[in-house]
Symmetry: C2
Subunit: 303 residues, 2 copies
DNA sequence: TAAATTTACTAAAACGTTTTAGTAAATTAA
DNA sequence: TTAATTTACTAAAACGTTTTAGTAAATTTA
């Protein structure tokens, strides 16, 4: 036991001399960093920006810092980011993944680094995952259209090949099936991720010209924004003849006239769950069992 | 000179053995990191999210990585972030600063670290700054109100004490003065930064109840969003009797019915300028003179 | 050709911590 | 009381690079 007097004396010297441990040296020796790496699709998408902010906040309160970077759904960039985080010895990884980086993530897992996937799952990997129930959410959205008497329901989605997007598509199809509506592939528009907005808008416009179309579900918030812009440009109102549901809430939805219904993911809960999983793993000496946590998304009906 | 044969042989071994230099060890020895630290107010604000994304993109193309974190206008957190970046040996700092961290930034300057302030200036510091001309932008916005015949023009702003916000206020006052309109402090609402949105909305509602109010300039995008929400809730239309101008464009502005005019900062240009300044300094052996670059903001009139 | 300089290479030191090893002193067990 | 163990402290090794120092060989200069 060291006497209080000595402890105080040493602490005083630390403060007086302004000593700050060199974290780089510390990381070199210990191999960790108190930093968690967060890899997302695009920080300028408000869904990711909000979740990043929440994660950052929660991690910060527990003594961890977050560093984040966007992949733009570019496999090369994603690989490089993982490489960079690895070389910076981040303690854990939170990743909104894309198809094609399974191997890189598997290496992290092999090295026993805590990895949490979120928003999108990579089913071939055995790892932690936190995400919303997109299948059910999408099903409910379409169901609500049908209950309003809609017959020709469009789905505007993206072409990225990830679980989350596929589920939204499946939910859409299942709802049509269950309620005896035909699946019409002309009513499904898959927009390439990195496509110029102008081109996407033209495609959406084309879709809206489809006679009889009386409802549309958008699979991401930026697509819904594009859709609303197109409608405005076409001077077509969102009214009894045309219902819209968006995905991942956005200020513009509530503010729109009329307000736009949306599928809202519980951001707060997702962020909290992610952080809890990470911290549990970081503070445990043994490898904890992987968990797949599916959180219900909520259909917010506005009018 | 080393023979090509040897170079090839060595490179082959590097690849075959999967050698990846340990960046931590490298940073420990060299004192730098090829990482640029970006400190902003709040990553979930779309203005910052967009600029972060642009900066990240441009830096990435030049071989630098960006790590960013939000201060939430909390001085303590800002100081800690600077401390963290310092201890991680980032090569340069891009900071959207707040009052109260002048000393910490001065220390960075004393250590000859490249520092670029953006969006907000700290006039007491002699350093690089890149930002929009908020005074002029704000002046023009009010001027455009006046030319529409508006007499009772409100300003909804925040209470944070930074150059950028002060300039917006000054532009507002100057325009009133130049056009012979009285300055009425009841028409200026300063909303505390971290205040609950519900309370802010009440204050804004109160402001809108002010009889005769026929125009309002909002000094930030999130305040304008709040304002529009309040109007919607009050069922008051934005029409000939009430004009609105926002700040820092937002999808919701264009999409709003009617579309909302706004002051748009040239994000692309700001990001590019910041990166250029940083890289110029990083690649120069000598200390370059500090530059204060003011970029015009643009008033986008919509209707 | 001899001296001076440059080049090529090897070995060791340095960056600033944490961890391990080693030793003396203090405590506990027999 | 003596041996065994624990505690307190000091010194050195280790993390993986880059930089510096040192030496021998090669080249240039006079």
């Amino acid at each position: 036991a060291i006497s209080d007097a000595v402890i105080k004396k040493v602490q005083k010297i630390i403060i007086d001399s302004g000593y700050k441990p060199n974290q780089i040296a510390r990381s070199l020796r210990t191999g960790n960093s108190n930093i968690i790496g967060l890899i997302i699709e695009d920080i300028s998408n408000s869904f990711f920006a909000k979740i990043a902010r929440l994660i950052e906040d929660k991690a910060y309160k527990r003594g961890y810092k977050i560093i984040y970077s966007s992949t733009e759904n570019n496999i090369e960039k994603a690989k490089e980011l993982i490489e960079m985080f690895k070389s910076r010895k981040v303690d854990a990884y939170i990743i909104s993944p894309i198809k094609g980086i399974e191997d890189d993530i598997q290496i992290l897992l092999d090295e026993n680094k805590p990895v949490i996937l979120f928003d999108r799952n990579l089913p071939t990997l055995n790892t932690n995952y936190v995400g919303a129930n997109h299948f059910v959410a999408s099903y409910q959205a379409v169901e609500s259209f049908i209950k309003q008497g809609k017959k020709n329901i469009a789905l505007v989605t993206t072409d990225i090949d990830v679980q989350q997007i596929i589920e939204r598509f499946e939910g859409y199809k299942k709802a049509l099936l269950d309620y005896g509506l035909p699946f019409n592939k002309d009513l499904v528009l898959k927009i390439p991720f990195n496509q110029e907005e102008i081109i996407s808008n033209k495609q959406i416009k084309q879709l809206f010209k489809n006679q009889g179309l009386d409802a549309a579900l958008f699979a991401t918030n930026y697509l819904a924004i594009s859709g609303l812009k197109v409608l405005k440009q076409m001077d077509r109102k969102v009214d009894k003849t045309l219902a819209i549901i968006g995905y991942d809430d956005h200020e513009a939805f509530e503010l729109h006239t009329p307000s736009i219904s949306t599928i809202q993911q519980p951001l707060e809960q997702i962020a909290e769950t992610i952080i809890k999983l990470i911290l549990a793993q970081l503070s445990s000496k043994t490898k904890l069992p992987n968990q797949q946590i599916i959180i219900p998304a909520k259909l917010i009906l506005r009018n």
